[in-house]
């Protein structure tokens, strides 16, 4: 991609300092000061991310997964928001200490984001091409014509049929899946280091969801960017995430590789999330195992472990003392008092591995021919 006259040096060109990671989030705390009290929206989130990696952030509504991402992007209004502690380092530079002007250059250029609802995140009065090319004009100094040309190429890249025609249409002329494709084209226009996707497929049908996930993985293979995938559905991140962070009430309650979260989980909240997904084609219809009750208010958090009121295994200590992270050698941690008790871990849900029913053979993926563009 030809780089034109910009005053800034791109942070993404800077090498990552020895021993550091692409993105490091360290004990991040973001609280909102409201009339009702202090909302502990993000409370001690830590993780690292490298290029080419995918981090899945999983949790229910209100668990702080989106606020964490918005804090990293500097998109939280302060006040009412206030960073109460922690650091975010991108290629060794502290993002929280940057000026708004510096952040503006990072947003879209180094770290890009796509949102759940592609209708409200696209501007209805501008043509798709204008919006997809906006980052290029802003960050790369492309002319209008060049930006439109590149936007057409990008639409083609994300699989939108007839990009020359589509580039001149408005968002309402696109279907939900097409809009999300356009959002991805926009997010990837400046070749960012990190793509944050906040529930990108929740508003879409399952067949379209499969297309969008496929597209994000394809683009990642091509560009080598990192992905942070935020979702409430563990199924969505099962085959795309390298690492997974499970959040509850603003805190990370479990963190590990995808294998560790799905097959060696050590937190009863993660078990609850896995159990509540309806299984396909089971012999007998067992009742689903939901997580009872509702997530707690982030203003008045219960004493002790925040999950204790909904935890089927909670004992006295859980209601009194907040658990610390119990970490294994591989860095897999769990915020549960009993995470290293082998007897307790026997309550973990069955998986294909524990049942010894791992499918063998090479899977077959059929991609149908792309003739199905809507009218």
């Amino acid at each position: 991609m030809a780089k034109k006259h910009t005053n800034h040096t791109d942070l993404k060109e800077k090498p990552i300092p020895e021993g550091r990671h692409l993105l490091e989030v360290d004990n991040l705390k973001m609280f909102f000061h409201t009339e009702d009290g202090i909302v502990h929206a993000v409370n001690g989130v830590s993780y690292t991310l490298d290029r080419g990696e995918t981090l899945g952030v999983v949790g229910e509504s209100g668990s702080g997964k989106s606020v964490t991402a918005m804090t990293i992007m500097g998109l939280i209004d302060m006040p009412p928001g206030k960073i109460e502690g922690g650091h975010v380092y991108y290629r060794g530079e502290s993002l929280l200490d940057m000026t708004e002007e510096q952040m503006q250059h990072i947003r879209g250029n180094d770290i890009a984001m796509i949102f759940q609802d592609p209708m409200t995140s696209l501007n209805p009065v501008y043509k798709i091409g204008h919006q997809v090319g906006e980052g290029l004009r802003l960050h790369r100094g492309y002319s209008k014509k060049e930006a439109l040309q590149r936007a057409t190429e990008l639409l083609d890249l994300v699989g939108i049929p007839e990009p020359e025609k589509r580039v001149n249409e408005y968002p309402h002329q696109f279907s939900g899946g097409m809009r999300q494709r356009a959002m991805i084209a926009m997010a990837l226009s400046c070749d960012p280091d990190i793509l944050i996707a906040d529930e990108p497929t929740t508003a879409l049908d399952v067949t379209i969801q499969a297309q969008i996930i496929e597209l994000m993985q394809e683009m990642q293979e091509k560009n080598g960017n990192a992905i942070i995938m935020i979702t409430h559905d563990l199924g969505v991140v099962a085959d795309m995430a390298d690492k997974i962070m499970v959040m509850y009430a603003g805190r990370p309650v479990e963190f590990g590789t995808a294998d560790e979260i799905f097959y060696e989980s050590r937190h009863p909240y993660t078990w609850g999330l896995i159990r509540s997904i309806p299984e396909q084609a089971i012999d007998e219809k067992k009742p689903l195992t939901p997580i009872h009750g509702n997530p707690p208010s982030l203003v008045n958090l219960p004493k002790g472990c925040p999950f204790a009121p909904r935890c089927p295994y909670a004992v006295d200590i859980c209601h009194e003392q907040e658990p610390v992270h119990i970490t294994t050698e591989t860095g897999h941690y769990s915020a549960c008092h009993f995470a290293d008790d082998p007897e307790f871990l026997k309550f973990a849900p069955d998986t294909s591995r524990s049942r010894g029913k791992i499918a063998t053979g090479t899977p077959e993926t059929i991609q149908t021919k792309p003739t199905g563009g809507e009218a």
Binding site: Q209, D233, I277, A281, S352, T360, G361, P363, G372
Partner: protein, 342 residues
């Protein structure tokens, strides 16, 4: 399940077709013949106490089917019989009686509850409209219903905004059960909820069905949710029913390529299974119902389409007893081998 599939069906839908004029306004339909073919020649039956799942992507006509059955819109052609009576021929009074037996649960728990009414008023409204009991009796029923759906009966005077999404959906369910209807049309009742809360609501619907013997028409875009609750499942594509069978057959031996691709698109919370299973990823979006493809409506996205598919409309035929499929080629895809974990 306590469903009785012999005997006379509770609901019988015959060749139901619903078209909407493509242009809005006074002269719509007079000069222009363009129509949106939302539902096209759909037939099925629902028996007392049974759950019938109806699945398909946005715009496939599943919600329109539900709304037409309740006569919230009038059908263009075809017939709907509820307990043997033709819904389309009913007058105002008969319709009111019909709606006592047939209730609706909506998708959006935020939009379907009046924010200015208390929970007590919302749940007792159907009883008020149909003149059931005195005010005291109604409030007593509301308290019982709140208890049944797992809400605190003391919250009877609270307003909807004081409840979370899952709790609101419980309120909508209590309202639907207030008159003990024989059939409830559930239009995507869990799509707006978190996975963990979805399971709560699905279990509640099953428990209530056991208790009251209500039949459900359960509409959803997600096969995994429908499979869990349904006795029989039908799949719709672009206004047409493409496959119908009992739930187990549909999930273990899906015949229509569209059903197969829907099944393979459901995310499985198990990376090993997810990585090893066969998948069909459909290209593009469903075509517009304004101008549906010729022949089989699915042929533009079908992985096994042949020349005849674009010319000849496939018949919705019974391939095995109780298993219907509308496909010229209808053969199970090898997807079965690796992804189903029996």
């Amino acid at each position: 399940m306590a469903s009785n599939t012999t005997g006379a069906p509770l609901l019988k839908v015959e060749h139901l077709t619903k078209e909407f004029p493509a242009e809005a306004g006074m002269l719509a339909g007079r000069f222009s013949k363009r129509v949106v073919s939302a539902v096209n020649d759909v037939s099925f039956e629902i028996h007392a106490g049974e759950t019938f799942g109806l699945v398909g992507e946005s715009g496939c006509g599943k919600s329109t089917t539900g709304r037409t059955i309740m006569r919230l819109t009038n059908p263009t052609a075809g017939k709907v019989f509820f307990e043997g009576k033709d819904v389309a021929q009913m007058n105002k009074h008969e319709l009111k009686d019909l709606r006592r037996e047939m209730q609706f649960i909506f998708q959006d728990p935020y939009a379907s509850l009046n924010p200015r009414m208390t929970i007590g008023e919302i749940i007792s409204e159907p009883m008020t409209i149909h003149g059931v009991g005195t005010k005291e009796e109604r409030m007593k029923t509301v308290r019982e219903l709140l208890d049944v759906v797992g809400l605190n009966p003391e919250h009877i005077n609270r307003y909807p905004h004081e409840f979370s999404g899952g709790q609101r959906q419980r309120i909508g369910i209590a309202r639907a059960f207030a008159l003990h209807p024989k059939l409830i049309i559930c239009d995507e009742p869990v799509s707006a909820l978190d996975v963990s809360i979805q399971a709560q609501v699905l279990n509640l619907l099953k428990d209530l069905q056991k208790q009251f013997g209500t039949a459900y028409l359960f509409i959803a875009h997600d096969l995994s949710v429908v499979q869990h609750i349904s006795d029989r499942v039908a799949v719709m594509y672009l206004g047409k029913m493409v496959e119908l069978s009992d739930w187990k057959t549909l999930y273990t031996e899906p015949h229509h390529p569209y059903t197969q691709s829907l099944l393979s698109a459901v995310p499985v919370p198990d990376p090993d299974v997810q990585k090893s299973r066969n998948r069909i990823i459909l290209a593009g979006d469903p075509p517009s119902p304004l101008d549906p493809p010729s022949g089989c409506r699915f042929h533009t996205r079908c992985p096994i389409a042949q020349a005849r598919c674009s010319q000849e409309q496939p018949e919705f035929r019974e391939i095995k007893p109780g298993h219907f499929c509308a496909c010229h080629c209808a053969a199970p895809f090898p997807i079965k081998e690796s992804h189903i974990d029996l």
